[in-house]
Chain length 408, copies 4
């Protein structure tokens, strides 16, 4: 057992830290201004291009992707880098070409794509020339239960025909988002986990209508392409756009889950760390009732609680990454579910306490905090509400103890 970082990780962390300090954080103000001053614009603001060029120059590019197409890091190696990007979640992941949902889509194409699909889509994505989205959630059903998914994908000769409505398709409001990976039902009669397939749908295919951007606690998230509601009406795409084989949609989703969780969770911990730092500085510099806020016992209590929650959560994420690397996703199931349950709640709590310590400034546009909070809160719902994962984790625990629990 050893809790230290290896050399590769340590080297990349140093490089990334330098980039964050020298380039990313100094650009935040301009970034925010560019977003604010272009109300109708869904593309990321221009300042990002400069950051992307510099990141690439430093070798901080596609770090998330294992194997030949990417940087070749393990999950355990990438995890602390992802955390660091979470300190500036609107800029840093995008600057490094490591932003969701493109990361998951690139992994999927690298792993399950045909050579043609990889050539057509993976190459420009790796190069940062286009963006992509993942259309999974549906407004009309509880889509955390995959068997509820209503969107149909039907074979008709050499094409597939898609019908359905998706929403919260993150990134899809950005016109540069050219590719939608759509999850739908190909065979409603198949066993529950073999009914779905995933299909590549180009944005400009007839029948595709991007209807509106969904907001999240008042935020449109224009800076990373928003969250679109999209109608698919008799949308026809070539049969060659299918990913893998019919009926593999659910299994592919599961494969995609593990690394995505690690990334999301580590970024959230980065946000939590930044919120904690902001809180510490705020309370050290603000006075009320005869002394700095930092002397208030209750605020100190929050700080201690924040520190121990973050430390524990990070260790659990790192262990989950290590298990994925050494024994595989399946054996890491409890830990992968565990971090989904734990980390967004920790981040939400820490950020909320930082908001409280900032008073009115905390809820406003003048700090990153309210926005961070909305991200953390939303991740308690994204890819399934906490409760679904908690029930599932408990079932496994009950089985482990010989419990005669009903299979659900």
């Amino acid at each position: 057992m050893d809790f230290g970082y290896d050399q590769t990780t340590a080297r990349l962390l140093a490089e990334l830290r330098d980039f964050m300090t020298g380039w990313v954080h100094p650009a935040e103000e301009e970034f925010e201004r560019q977003v604010r001053e272009a109300p109708g614009r869904w593309e990321p603001p221009p300042v990002l291009d400069r950051l992307r060029a510099e990141a690439r120059r430093r070798g901080l590019w596609n770090l998330f992707l294992p194997g030949e197409y990417g940087a070749g890091l393990t999950n355990l190696q990438y995890a602390p880098l992802a955390e660091l990007t979470g300190w500036s979640p609107s800029l840093a992941p995008a600057a490094l070409n490591c932003a969701a949902p493109d990361t998951g889509n690139m992994e999927l194409l690298a792993r399950f794509g045909t050579p043609q699909q990889r050539e057509r889509w993976l190459v420009p994505l790796l190069d940062g020339r286009i963006r992509s989205a993942f259309a999974m959630t549906e407004p009309a059903v509880a889509s955390s239960d995959a068997t509820n998914i209503a969107t149909r994908i039907e074979r008709d000769g050499e094409t597939y025909v898609v019908n359905g409505r998706k929403w919260f398709v993150t990134g899809a409001m950005d016109p540069r988002c050219e590719l939608f990976i759509v999850m739908g039902r190909t065979d409603p009669a198949a066993p529950v986990r073999r009914q779905q397939s995933q299909l590549l749908v180009e944005r400009d295919t007839p029948g595709v209508t991007v209807r509106r951007g969904m907001s999240v606690y008042g935020y449109e998230d224009r800076e990373h392409g928003g969250h679109a509601e999209i109608d698919f009406v008799d949308v026809r795409v070539p049969a060659a756009n299918l990913i893998d084989v019919e009926g593999s949609g659910f299994a592919i989703s599961q494969a995609r889950l593990g690394p995505g969780r690690i990334h999301h969770c580590m970024r959230l911990l980065g946000m939590a760390e930044r919120a904690l730092e902001l809180m510490c500085r705020r309370v050290a510099g603000r006075r009320a009732f005869g002394g700095p806020l930092a002397d208030q016992g209750v605020i100190r209590d929050w700080i201690a609680e924040a520190r121990v929650r973050i430390e524990q959560a990070r260790l659990l994420v790192l262990k989950a990454a290590w298990l994925m690397d050494t024994v595989g996703n399946r054996q890491a199931h409890t830990e992968i579910q565990g971090i989904k349950i734990v980390v967004p709640a920790v981040a939400e709590w820490v950020v909320d306490r930082a908001v409280q310590a900032h008073g009115a400034a905390g809820v406003s546009q003048d700090t990153v905090l309210a926005r961070f909070w909305a991200r953390a809160r939303t991740l308690r719902l994204a890819d399934g509400p906490d409760e679904v994962h908690r029930q599932s984790l408990a079932r496994r625990e009950l089985r482990r103890h010989g419990g005669d629990a009903r299979r659900v």
Copy 2:
């Protein structure tokens, strides 16, 4: 002891319930659309005028105001009416001319205003022709400690000169908001609670600059006039615009607090009730994993918790109102602080659980929930963060037990 409503309250509740059902709730969609489709507009949307006329016709007007100028209800009588308006907090209070901060300002003018001040400002406010704001919070200091307030109000012959910056001046982005009541320091050398005064400043006075609207978790709250940041630079107003006497600013604030708390808290409980109803309906109608969400034990647990928290909180508010009516604000201090501590937290929790039960819809613009949440969350900071009130309540409790120790 008797937990039933008196006849006046019961009659007005029935009338108001009828108005809510027949007029307010049906208008919500149009209201939202009018707000959404007029992005630069800070006035309330036109649909409100229709509601105001009808409310007035029904005698549902200025119900909040005791005494000759208003409906003459006690705090205990008005409280359940306020709760009902909380079911539609953007429309109903405004429709009834019972919206903050105008309510507090009208009370203040009715109670402390000179005949001239009342004639000039109270009359059009009671009539709903203009709006007003209360400029208290400052960006540069922790203004929950009133002794921190930095804005200066200095006498210069027959005028007062105001210098300072205020923010989160609710309602002040609305151009019809013609009056700002400004809290500032007149005598920094006086005893701590005699340093501040309150002054009536007209919006168009030279030196007043409304700089920008502050956002709250991404919401600009344009529908009720936003939250302005305002600069006061050498702003000169006639000496007759002073409220009461120099040095009474703090005492007036305290007097204003009690009823305002009752109103805010009851409206929050109305929001919580609506969120609970939405949650119950959602989970009854949504299915996952083989049954309605309403069959999930964890969700039922939230519902039970929501019910018992709301019931308890409401009783505490009603008791605070009764104490204010019977023994006065000072004797009701613990209860008035208690409801500030309890109710926003209860409402926040209930609404958050309703969000969770709604999944993505809960965080979006398609339900009232995310917006309700932001309101409840903000009230844990408004008129002093919870923590200030908790420390103060505890000090009083400690004093109460300061006598001879009973043997244990």
Copy 3:
């Protein structure tokens, strides 16, 4: 709506307060010593007799019992008196002949007993000459689900024959406890809520074996007769010992529930108030790290939280009592369940914080706190774990909102 006490209540409160201060609290030390120094003894210590005589002399006797046999108070009138007795829960209720489970048993006999049963049992109980117990819980099944109860009561000519094992029969270790009211199944084929009956069983009936005292977090509760495990093997009692009619056991239990809940909950609030007082005095008088503990923000936060939780919980209990008095148990169902959910948890929390503020003394025999805690904790299980009541309350709430919830 009126939150003040009526004259009868105010008068009795004053009398009881005087008795608590002058007689009960001064006797606590002797009481504890007598318990400690008689290790094998299950009767209450002798000092209690003196208190009982004085209470009776003052008219503070059988206050809990409405109607002709008792003091004739309403639930709402008795509630604050019960709270006051909770300040000294081992002495005061017993001194006033208002201790559970005798209270519930007396109510039951007064309401459902035949003249012969009342003469034989109710009279000496009202007179305080004997004690009684209620044998409901069983070790082998989850008896919070009444349909699980396995003890059989079978008719055989002019007798009933009882077979089964009960435990946590409070008071039954006291040899003066001469009567056990036993809940058992008379007709397993009847509808679920008509299967059970209640039967009066004398302690010295052949086949009755009191096996052992159960402990509660290390406490044997000898001072109020412990919690017995009792075997009933072919125990024969006259058929005339049946309460009411066969099959009414469940309904009678429900009738018994309401007032018992009010009593338990109010006593718990009394314990919580005493714990809060002890905490305030402790922290005022104890110094660490340069000042009294009372200056620690976190401790003040507990004190504020304790105060607002107690206030809210008390109001809910009082409202439940008022509803029982005015519209009956059935209409007060939500409130009666609500107080079961809320009050033990509040008391547990307040007492636990008082323990923490006392350090090692708090967990030891040198304060009442650890013992209070065990009482409060146990009441989260007694007459059904919290969770059962929460699920049930939620079902009713779902129905109220038209939810299509499955009936459970």
Copy 4:
């Protein structure tokens, strides 16, 4: 970074697991019976001797002690072994000669003792022939603030004279406990952390009076020697009994803290794991309301929460152990304080949920749970209440962020 155990640890874990399964758990019932049936006896029950002999035979002896005198394991290696002993905390640590407070005392003697002190006391302790206690806490002051300690140790020629009262001296009721290590003030005029010294005092020294056993939530803990209150009145011991030098008492305490925390915390996690297992088995085998308790969503929620809290807490303890081994106690300060804050609270919570799932059995003597709970709860106070450590951890965190503020 590597989350796997090394070979030594894995081998010892297997051996210990075998011992627990084959010897310890089967002996629990007899152990409990022997304790119960010898009410006045403070020595551990005889069955323990058999276990100790077997443990020694297997090489499972003094595993806690690094260096030449013990098994030579690192903290990281011993930690998982300590967790395993926590499954049976009254038997296993004692069987392995790894029970507190002897472990800390042995460490102290091994590290700071003179050859004579080691010969006289360490050898028989390592051999398990005698026991020892640590007299630190005092009833009259908040001794978590070491500067409050009032016991005096004064030099008088070739002797030291001790005066003071200590309590909660764990193990000291056992007559075989021959040695008390007493913390007292030698120089009240010295700098705060140089005022205290530690002194070896034999049990039978004149002036030493063991007054009584303190109870903990009704438990006397006779099976491991109770918690004594001890008076020291003009107790004279040879000057050679001083540990290290005068004024080093505080520093020695700090050195002792780290490993003790690891042990305590890992044992608590063992208790939590056992409680979780008991809960899973209970709810799988118990039925109510139409199915096993294991189907109740709320109970599943507890199980999931228990699992993720335990996993996180364990990782934090292991990291703290690793830091102590690699960079030393001082650098591990945050983690050592972190586990003190986190682990007792986690264990308390898990055990409490297991109690609730067991109903009445959970609070009684028929399961280990209520007793486990009392241990966990007490450790939130032992060696300083949580709050002291939280404030201290927060101060360090605040200092860490004391540098230049990054722009937000």
